[in-house]
């Protein structure tokens, strides 16, 4: 546990660079900007009906915070977690410690989750100040609960992708996001259940205020599950833990050398 805490503290300090902090602000500002733009459009084009406001803000903040802000932050931090160690050639110092790689990956996972979740908290808290929803607290708590699940799930997913493809990890993470989470996740077929998106969307319908029209729409009927929230949470927790374990297993199986021609 000392090692895990050490990695977390060390990686957190290491990641506190101007560039990383700037990205955090950009990601946190994105939902706020979208919210303000929506309010501006509404003020020009006319207000949304009171009955539809909850649905509108729920969906908008869902897309902007857990789907965009959390996923992007996790991608930026967890995706290159292994590649940067290999590129900097700092890998070997950790690899020659007891369970060093496992602690390193776990520490980096928590750091990625922390960056993603704190950005989500900031984004949601600020955005909710500007929404004209009837139940802003429900919106705030619902989005934060979703973010609390999205941040670790995406961090674990990108960590695993980084372990499988240490070379060009970011490219594969972006391809995964576009191809699997966005495209496959929206596909009205049973295959979309493997995605994080499917589970988050299903929880969206449970935890956030949506109009009956939206709940009964064909689009949602085929792209959300009717299982209990607990089953979706269990699924997300399982893939989070499973993906971390798989990432650790991948790095234990792979052979990264200290030679100049690294396996990277």
């Amino acid at each position: 546990m000392n090692a895990l805490l050490a990695v977390f503290r060390y990686e957190m300090r290491k990641s506190l660079t101007a560039g990383r902090v700037a990205w955090w602000f950009v990601l946190a500002a994105f939902p706020v900007t979208i919210t303000l733009l929506s309010r501006w459009v509404q003020s020009n084009e006319g207000q949304i009906k009171l009955a539809d406001r909850d649905s509108f803000w729920s969906v908008l903040l869902y897309v902007a915070v857990p789907c965009m802000c959390c996923a992007m932050s996790a991608l930026l931090t967890a995706g290159p977690a292994i590649a940067t160690e290999l590129e900097q050639r700092s890998w070997i110092y950790v690899a020659t410690r007891p369970h060093g790689i496992a602690w390193l990956l776990l520490g980096k996972f928590f750091v990625a989750t922390a960056w993603a979740f704190t950005a989500a908290v900031a984004a949601t808290s600020l955005s909710v100040l500007f929404v004209n929803a009837p139940a802003p607290y429900t919106l705030w708590s619902g989005i934060l609960k979703l973010s609390g699940l999205a941040a670790p799930a995406y961090s674990a997913t990108y960590l695993l992708l980084g372990a499988i493809f240490p070379r060009r990890s970011m490219v594969f993470c972006v391809m995964y996001t576009a191809g699997v989470e966005v495209l496959l996740g929206s596909f009205p077929a049973i295959i979309n259940r493997i995605t994080v998106q499917y589970r988050l969307r299903s929880l969206l319908t449970c935890w956030l205020p949506l109009s009956d029209d939206l709940r009964n729409s064909t689009a949602l009927q085929y792209t959300v599950g009717s299982n209990s929230p607990a089953s979706h949470i269990l699924w997300l927790a399982s893939i989070t833990i499973g993906f971390i374990l798989l990432a650790v297993l991948m790095t234990r199986l792979r052979q990264f050398t200290t030679a100049t021609e690294s396996d990277l």
């Binding site: 000392n2 805490l5 050490a6 050639r89 070997i92 110092y93 020659t96 410690r97 007891p98």
Partner: protein
Amino acid sequence: MTSMISLQNVTRLYGTVLGVNDISLELPRGAYGLLGPNGAGKSTLLNLLIGQLRPTRGVVEVLGMPPRNNPTLMRKLGFCPSFEGMYASVSGLDWVTFLLQMQGRRPAAARLRAIECMEQVGMQDAMQRPIATYSRGMRQRTKLAQAIAHEPELLILDEPFSGLDPIGRAQMTDLLRSWIQNGRSLIIASHVLHEIEALTQSFLLISGGRLLASGTAEEVHELLFHVPAELLLRCTKARRIAALALQNGLAEAASITPSPNNQIDSKTEHDLLRIETRSAEQLAKSLMEWIPAEHAVVLEMRTADDSLQSLFNSLMKIHRGEV
């Protein structure tokens, strides 16, 4: 007692390229130099020892344990790679502290030990500065500090003198000498022989992925009795001694360089006789008979290749099939 290192027919392939080729050896605890030119397979061998690589064939054991994914062994092993790979933005002290915590030490204890080690490697004045501001030598010393900080049983160093100035080299040598004197084990890889000679007389010669020789310098010298060697004699009656060596089939060739103020084979002047032989031991014995019999006066007698470098060169010639 288990061997420090045990390799049984270890081969490591990178695709079709041989990294290490069928190496077998047993090393008891102690200090060893791993010598070989660049690309000889030293780093591959070290990677096998620290468990970063699996052998394609054969068995590797370090301190009686298989090294791959072995946390117990990692507690007993200190490794210092040839490259830097340190985080530039943090201080040397923080980095060593972090790596000590990775060994399971509590933060406060890790900090104290890290300070102690940084002082031990002469980094007390710069340890709070970011690594980015360190010179090459300071980085080398910081790398050594992280390798020794958890007091490992076996220290493995890959080119630790690289980039050090003469003072840094001397300090590093002293540090490693005291490490060895304290009864700890060490494997040090280098392609510069005198660096290793200053630390240990036990070494492994590796080239082309093959172990050319191992043991003490004397043991390896024994291997050279049947290897062409050069014997140098500064003596009187050089022509007569050369003739005897050639007549008895103990010399492949002989050449005489007269002393500056002399004609060859003067009875009083000392010429330089150079004899090439494949039977150095036999020639040496015969010379002990010929010299008194011929009433020759010898000022100097030595092999031309008494350094590790020439030993290495000879073994390389055998390996390449040039001999």
